[in-house]
Symmetry: C4
Subunit: 201 residues, 4 copies
């Protein structure tokens, strides 16, 4: 499926480009101190990596249920990819501010907003597909609503993280970390193993 | 299909590399001001991203109708990819000129020409495939002409944008933005949803 | 298969980004001397390239035997990819230290630890899949144990390389080079050719 | 087919990373002059792009005829990819020397050798596959010899280009340009169009 394969490639490239934002310490510094001083870069790298991993997984969940795509779906999906491919820049801004200690509030809010706009584009694709009846017949109305709720929760959660970050930067970051934990960790009784072989997607 | 998969990968990588041209503000500037001052980079990023998204979609339209490729098709397609993969450089030139305010005319014309050469390589692939009768039998002569007209329109549109940009830079940019809008927005009655599942491409 | 295709893309991108760490000599130096002086970069490039090539091959061996993935497998696999995508940074640190001659001990240990954490994530995926009975029925208990032993050997080998590197940097590097040789070179009677055509993976 | 898909990804990424070596002119120079002064970068970009395009096409020709891969084939193929992924660095060295006018002999020879080592790894894969009888039954002995000759010709051609470049840099470059022309341009009666649809590769 073209749209999903193309999107997957963009996710994979974005996630791998994140490391380019981490620069090795200058030659004249103590290397061990220099490597330890890069903790903001490592933290930002890990948080964004896990977030894009979620984006990838949820993008599949979403397109598993969309049976047909018109031009608006393609456009909304390109906007989604445009926001995701922008995340390495937001990550670099966050790491820089945590490193110097200056402008952390601005950097954290910017970072949270970038994540929240990603959630916004997810909601746009899903709401449009629901209204235009582009969903698979195998998904009933309750199922569509459940997925939509999940995406709305992400939108609200990340908006709150941005607001918390505006009050106290560390709270915004904690909100993002909690977001990653909540969406990645398995919930008891919810996570059936999916067969890998013969998976057409 | 090898040629299309390889081309898709180049499109996906190019589109994702665009963000590398955006550098975070220097540590000693006000971060909010610095982020706002990067608006030329954001604008150039978005315009090129949407344009390459169109290139990707139209490349599929084109190769959906080409049933066989000889060595000339492969060569013309490689030239097409060479121009597309060059676009991040043109984008960087544009963003730099908009940022400093110097040499905007040169930068806009250079940017428009890069886009127009992309359209030129599209036309070259299509015209060659038409003349060598490499098109699918499912496409009748009227259909082939319609697609050719669409590609010729792009060629003319982007050439005019370059000329307008030479007169007044902002007009050239407006021409490109209008181009993106025209090719992305759905036209009433024209945009049937395509099934995603079982799509072999 | 989505998980494997996505992982393959991350491996391919990571392996190709390694070259970006090699910068051409400054314009005012003798170019031949400059190119020769970059031997630490070439060495680090080749060693990491071959290592990631092994990671790619072994990732396929592993997922050939995992019949189903739950959310924990996806999470552990994302952690594996996060460590692999980090390797260009560790490679850059190693090349820098070998180039200047300073802090080589720190750089070699850092590099070996990065490799060893990769092995750790492999073991985590495999042990989890074994315990949750997510393995293919075609793999008997002895086969699963043999693969697990192979991964444990890598974990121990790379840990020892880190310890050796802490004692004498060149020993740590020799440990990594020997690791690449051991896992890449064919063992007599062990290496049947696998058919390429019709290979579903 | 895993090996080919992975190799394709490395080719596509390498070809697209080439543009990162082209840096926009400094803000304080006349932009038009600055863009024109980058002609060595454009030339090196185009030559390497077309060369890697050939590598991609020939890699498919080669693996179309290899029916099975053992561990040595995988290792030789990884070495081939390692050399290809290194080409952006050689391209950067060439562009830098052409730009400053210094050390052109060294740069051209280095560039030609990098191309020739690529041809060497091609020959290594093919010779090994021939000797180990890993070729498809559909290819008779004469066909295998013809492909081997073609690869040997590339090896000799690029070695001669390196020697010519050592005598006079422009001759070495001319040798590479002629190489691209010879392998890309269709030969009369030789180039049947290949069907794209239903192509399993």
């Amino acid at each position: 499926m073209r749209v999903v394969a193309f999107s997957d490639a963009v996710f994979a490239i974005t996630i791998t480009l994140l490391v380019l934002e981490i620069r090795r310490p200058a030659d004249d510094t103590n290397l061990l101190h220099g490597l330890l001083a890069l903790w903001p870069s490592y933290l930002a790298y890990a948080v964004t990596f896990l977030f894009i991993g979620q984006v990838w997984a949820n993008h599949h969940v979403m397109f598993d249920h969309i049976r047909a795509a018109d031009r608006v779906v393609l456009l909304l999906n390109i906007l989604l990819l445009m926001v995701v491919a922008f995340l390495p820049f937001a990550t670099s801004v966050l790491a820089g501010a945590l490193h110097t200690g200056d402008w952390q509030r601005t950097a954290v809010v910017f970072y949270c907003i970038a994540f929240d706009v990603t959630a916004l584009t997810f909601n746009a694709v899903w709401q449009y597909a629901c209204r235009q009846r582009l969903l698979s017949d195998a998904l009933d109305s309750a199922g569509a609503t459940a997925i939509g709720r999940r995406f709305q929760l992400a939108l609200a959660w990340l908006a709150i993280a941005a607001l918390l970050g505006a009050a106290l930067p560390v709270l915004g970051l904690a909100g993002i970390v909690a977001f990653n934990a909540f969406y990645w960790l398995p919930i008891r009784g919810e996570s059936p193993a999916r067969r890998l072989k013969g998976d057409a997607g």
